[in-house]
Subunit: 441 residues, 2 copies
């Protein structure tokens, strides 16, 4: 977690919008993504800087990038997988080159050349940043697990394995979509009281889950474990994840093999992958276990992870109903949590995931599970936030929400800020619900 | 499910070994795979015929294949995905061309040309036949579900959703390996009595699960459902799957999100994908529900599926311990089940999987779950077969097995046979267990 010249909070860019104190994408961030323009259908890689996206593929193809040939070659691909596979040192070398190129004191003639490859971010179409081989979703917030558990088992909310095992399940990779993609309300089997006949019908309890996701960089072999002390070297970057969830379908289907159709219809991600290096100033200690709490098993403990394994990321969820949009009402904040409250760190999640020899490819994604904190205002899903619909949220229009309705847009934002460091952000992950298909025979 | 000239049981091949009544690969089968030779590192597609593999890629590249240019192009790839994406009509066209080329009455000069592209099957290395995007595992045997359920909940073995929902979970795609690949015993968290402290240690209850897997052919869009009557048109072919399972890890980790590390360290598959067309003569009726059993929901019922949705596939599991190998003892049969006993048909599994709009890519794999029948001898995993270790299996060497030991090879075979049709087989799916890594700090 060492800081270097790219983290210097005083650095300014010759791209003025990057110097706006409120931008998510100052020169200290430099997150990576993939995009296409109306004129160019082949996907290109890009870097966010202020309100612009720098066409990294074109910059690399035009020999304007002062990096090794291996890194340059990886920058010419339409997906980040190859760049991810080169690992964090390569990402660091690339960030440094980009940082120097975009600084206020970069040579004027270079600036002139680079300007040809800058796009307005709001004019381009962002694409899935990587071909995601496997997607895993954890359950790493003890507050979320306790809240959800208490709805099912009030006397015994947290299962006995929770404090030992970073609980997770496999998700569906094919249905991971980029922010902005419309999400169709799923149909599915629902059995409201677990008695009588279930019905195949539109979900009535559609929910979001605000999470942080991590992309794997360097791959591992079949049967190979990842010791905790090496886990961070396999984590390349982070994004926002919305694990859309149909609670009524989930309730009926999830025993005994876990959630399936209640989750795999759609997962939205934010398009900008913030590198672990960019997050370095915001590392925090891991969750502190109180007196009498079980000790970590040795494969999940290292002094370094205890000290710096966490990350201080604020995560906010907003809603904009179609009514709000019509009336020009700004999105309403439903919650604000922090990733540092998670019970397990990203390194622990990955080390556990590989502890049985499960292998990883560059571009695999694992997400944290709902990021919830102690209070109701920090709850990262509506199920908790509106407590199973018992305490609906009142919106500025007077509308109430227990679950997500058709036409609602859910917007998740995340950012890091701290005294002495430049604020960086993740951009946003949004999705609007469209009505279900009519159920036929 | 119409039969055509490729199914004619009287057809013979000019490749003599294909006419052996016991071969898995007569000319009526023609399953597809991918391979490399010691001289050729680039993967090629191939077709099994008798004890030979025909290099399909070279045959296509040398213009010896009488098919559309689209199919020919797909045959030149090193993975089956593109061929799968063209769907079942394309597979049918290709099978017909191959059948005519390999029949006893094929022109002699063609036979001479083709001979250059025949390899001894036991001299080549088979590769993963497709890039598997997503892997899903069902739980479609009611006998297996009842047996396993009765171990956990003797009074209430089958959960209330079972007869309505084709239960499934997502598996790990990265750790799917081809037959013959050695399987390292996983380490993991085990807590034998669910009390006290768990330990990170080698699994002591390693098991296999004998299953049939199905590859998706034509893809579907994000949000698109697959009506049951169309589901078969999206299923391209089948193989044997061994869903290796660490029962002790599973027991401790699986609540509330399902099995994870207990399964994702390895899944073995057989290398030959038997097309749905080749399986046409062996279609059977779907599982018949008795009086008083719940009716299928409309999206899971069609008259065609009720009549022909099942497949009559015998599935056998053999063990060969290192002791047996040393003594030259033949593999010992542990079980023989039949896929026609499954509670859900492949079409129902896929229609359910897509009923919420979950999208599919060519090369996605879904497996049936353990194929078990009514009797103990039909149980497709050791957990059932040796009833939690309470009734260990005695082997010809006098050894006993409750779970799989280091050095054991598990061999799964599958085949279809029926009066009036030529017997066809799947080949085998085998894996030998190697000792775990030593647990360090």
């Amino acid at each position: 977690m060492t800081l270097n010249e790219t983290h210097n909070p005083d650095l300014k860019s010759w791209i003025e919008s990057a110097n706006d104190p409120e931008t998510d994408f100052p020169i200290q961030n430099l997150p990576f993504g993939a995009f296409k323009t109306p004129k160019n259908f082949a996907p290109h890689l890009c870097v966010a800087i202020g309100d612009k996206a720098l066409d990294l593929t074109s910059v690399a193809l035009n020999n304007l990038l002062d990096v090794s040939s291996e890194i340059r070659a990886a920058c010419t691909k339409g997906f980040l997988n190859q760049l991810m596979s080169l690992g964090n040192d390569a990402a660091s070398e690339l960030r440094l080159a980009l940082s120097r190129m975009l600084r206020a004191d970069a040579p004027k003639d270079l600036q002139e050349k680079i300007k040809h490859y800058l796009f307005e971010r709001d004019k381009i179409e962002m694409l899935n940043p990587a071909r995601i081989g496997d997607f895993t979703d954890f359950y790493a917030s003890i507050y979320h697990a306790t809240n959800v558990g208490s709805m099912l088992r009030p006397e015994n909310p947290l299962l006995p394995n929770y404090k030992y095992v970073p609980i997770a399940y496999h998700g569906r990779a094919s249905s991971i979509v980029i922010t902005g993609r419309k999400i169709r309300r799923p149909n599915g089997q629902v059995n409201s009281d677990d008695k009588g006949e279930p019905k195949y019908m539109p979900s009535r309890r559609l929910d979001y889950e605000a999470e942080i996701g991590f992309f794997v960089g360097t791959s591992t072999g079949f049967g190979q474990i990842i010791p905790l002390r090496e886990a961070e070297s396999h984590i390349w970057g982070a994004c926002i994840v919305n694990d859309w969830s149909a609670r009524d379908i989930q309730r009926w289907e999830y025993q005994p093999l876990g959630p399936f159709l209640s989750k795999n219809f759609a997962t939205s991600i934010s398009p900008w992958i913030v590198t672990m290096e960019a997050l370095a100033p915001f590392r925090t200690k891991a969750f502190e276990r109180g007196e009498g709490e079980p000790k970590l098993l040795p494969y999940l403990y290292s002094p370094e992870n205890a000290k710096h394994g966490g990350i201080d990321i604020v995560i906010e969820v907003y809603i904009r109903t179609s009514q709000m949009q019509k009336q020009g009402v700004a999105p309403f904040r439903l919650s604000r949590g922090n990733f540092k409250d998670m019970y397990w760190t990203p390194a622990q999640m990955l080390a556990h995931h590989a502890s049985n020899g499960c292998n990883f490819h560059a571009g695999d994604l694992f997400a944290s599970g709902t990021v919830s904190g102690k209070t109701r205002e920090e709850a990262g899903c509506l199920l908790e936030r509106a407590w199973r619909g018992e305490e609906p949220i009142e919106l500025p229009t007077g509308e109430k929400r227990s679950f997500v309705e058709d036409g609602d847009e859910i917007i998740i934002k995340a950012y890091c800020e701290k005294e002495g460091a430049r604020r960086i952000g993740f951009g946003e992950c949004s999705g609007t619900i469209i009505p279900p298909f009519k159920v036929g025979k």
